[in-house]
Amino acid sequence: MTDSAIIETVELTKIYGDRKAVDGLNFSVPQGSICGVLGRNGAGKTTTLKVLLGMARPTSGTARVFGLDAANNEASVEIRRRCSFVSEEKDLYDTMTVGEIVRFAAGVYPRWRTDLEQRYQTAFALQPLASIKQLSRGARTRLALLLALCSGAELLLLDEPTSGLDPAANEEVLQLLVAHAAREGATIVLSSHHLVDIEQIADRIAILDHGRAVVQGALDDIRERYCRVQLVFDGPAPEAALHTPGIVGVKRDGRVMRVLSSAGSERLVAEARALNPIAVDVTPVTLKEIFLETVAVEI
């Protein structure tokens, strides 16, 4: 498993002043996957990306990309040769034009793909003489993505690539990413608040909360393991605690008890039947529900 892990952090901790942005994070991404990183604001998503790129040094723990130590200066430059980044703000050089920044990036990345550059520049309708300062948010996102996609990188780190985009632009970005991953075999890590987007294109997710990964794994596996069991009782739902492993949360509301399980429903239903419910319902859960309940629990 470790051999094909393109990113791997072990007990990674990053403290800024008195704030623990990342707290013992164990996070890994297999090569060739599209990994969605979810979490509330301040959960540590951006900090993790920064540490992987050598923008911030770990306080403790290790972070490896391509098997190289992200905290080492020389290794970090090598990592960045094979990796590209789009920041949340899509922050680029306002003093340059579109054409100038493309030429600039082409000169800096050793594996620049001129063939992709042609294709994307026309597809994105970006005018080479346009000043970056005057680009709309959508155009700026497209430009940032163009720079990342043409860099010849094996790994793309994208911080909220679809934030602030209208639905059509949003879908365009997803199409781009899926196509790029399919054709170039690149690994994509994207942090996002758009859970539906992640469910659509990611095959792996990690949910971060307070600097730690509370849920991590293949998305299909998570979808199969997580389920909601709803029990309806004749009288008020019993206060008895349930001991089946993998229970994420229990909510009691009058005569109804709802349990979120991360380990399937069979054992849970068996234990629950001992409480004599009048109805037992097992339903799949959406990523949104998993997110909301695993993140709330940690507080």
């Binding site: 469910e199 299909d220 069979e266």
Partner: protein, 132 residues
């Protein structure tokens, strides 16, 4: 031909794709020996992960529904699952019709009947294959 899967239904996308392919075979939209869309073009068209499409095709091959020919693509299995499945459906329909008529007679609405079946399916579908 294949419609966009619903990412937030809670059902894994690869399962949805498999269901769609099987359904297409049952209704005759895909005939035995016919080629399925390529993994990459399909992934790009539906805007879903290419690994997900690959997984769906692999599972379909595992179930004998399609054949993966190296270098050529995926083809509907010539073992005429289509007609078998069509038979299966033909004998199953009266059973379902009887059950629905009975439940309606008991006073359940169609929506309630549908949820009842889904709950029963979900409860029993998890057997064998879940981690502890």
């Amino acid at each position: 031909m294949l419609i966009k899967p619903n990412p937030s239904s809670g059902v894994p996308i690869y399962l949805q794709l498999m269901e769609q392919v099987k359904h297409a075979i049952e209704t005759g939209a895909l005939r035995p020996g016919e080629q399925l869309p390529g993994i990459r073009p399909l992934a790009e068209e539906l805007v879903i992960n290419v690994n997900t499409v690959a997984k769906a095709y692999r599972e379909l091959e595992h179930e004998g529904v399609v054949e993966l020919r190296h270098g050529a693509g995926a083809f509907v299995s010539a073992r005429a699952h289509g007609t078998k499945a069509a038979d299966k459906f033909r004998t199953a329909r009266p059973v379902a019709a009887a059950a629905i008529a009975k439940l309606r007679a008991q006073g359940l609405t169609d929506e309630e009947i549908r949820r009842l079946f889904e709950a029963e399916l979900a409860a029993h579908a998890r057997v064998g294959g879940q981690g502890d």
